[in-house]
Symmetry: D3
Subunit: 61 residues, 6 copies
């Protein structure tokens, strides 16, 4: 713990995810004082036709 | 907010998802009085071999 | 299935949740053609100090 | 209910998932006394480049 | 990993949760061959007025 | 989007959550280049008797 789950639009590179995971972990450690090894992050890539925004699919916008 | 996450069996068409997202958003807006633009929906398609129902995989039924 | 999880700001009445659950279920049934009894909905009430929006807690806005 | 969501590293066989779903369902039934048919399980397979552990992607370890 | 999230109706005793956590962990270890220490379980207690079943709140049934 | 859900042990102060939400949002913006206003974060406080770790409740450790 903490366990972090992130939903984001698919297509981000592994390099961006690597940077994101590093930055989020550092932010949590600094804010709450836990060990970095305690932070687990799950990223879920979501296709635009699986996201609804204001009643429309994001793929239709 | 609200944020809606939906798990459903994979294979539904984009047309069905479009209709579902529209209908759910309207239902939430009517029930709680928020703006349509505040409703965010995430759909996750799940394969039948990743669903357990009564101790069995749905793909085995 | 489908399984629906909804995060919303705490404080909505049971009457609003009742209406919301009915409306969402009808919208899903109409869109994808499943049985009403197959739709399971979980509502999670979230305090404003547990929601981040644009880098700020919603309770600070 | 109960509804169980499991995130695990992708690549497990259907046979292992079958055994896991059976075992988890039995464990829940024995512990809380519900019907097996009430237990719904969702498995989400996660790629190693979508898992952060201690600030690093699991695919980098 | 694996990470397990369980939604269940509120009111189960700590003793039942203790037994459930033990049983689920053993079932996962036996099925997929991971270490017990790798299994993390989150239980979320849900009030009946926050559960929709077939279009109705569970608290209305 | 992105939508971030965080499970953590209950008891952290609002001040720590404020700092955490700010830091996570900045880390995501820097890594993937989205607008800060697009980042939505949900924090769920979990009691130790609702967390399983290695087959035991965290409250028993």
């Amino acid at each position: 713990m903490p366990i972090v789950q992130i939903e984001m639009i698919e297509g981000r590179s592994v390099e961006k995810k690597r940077k994101m995971v590093k930055g989020i972990t550092e932010a949590i450690v600094e804010a709450i004082g836990c060990e970095p090894g305690a932070v687990r992050i799950i990223i879920r890539d979501i296709a635009k036709h699986n996201i609804g925004d204001g009643g429309e699919l994001m793929s239709d916008k």
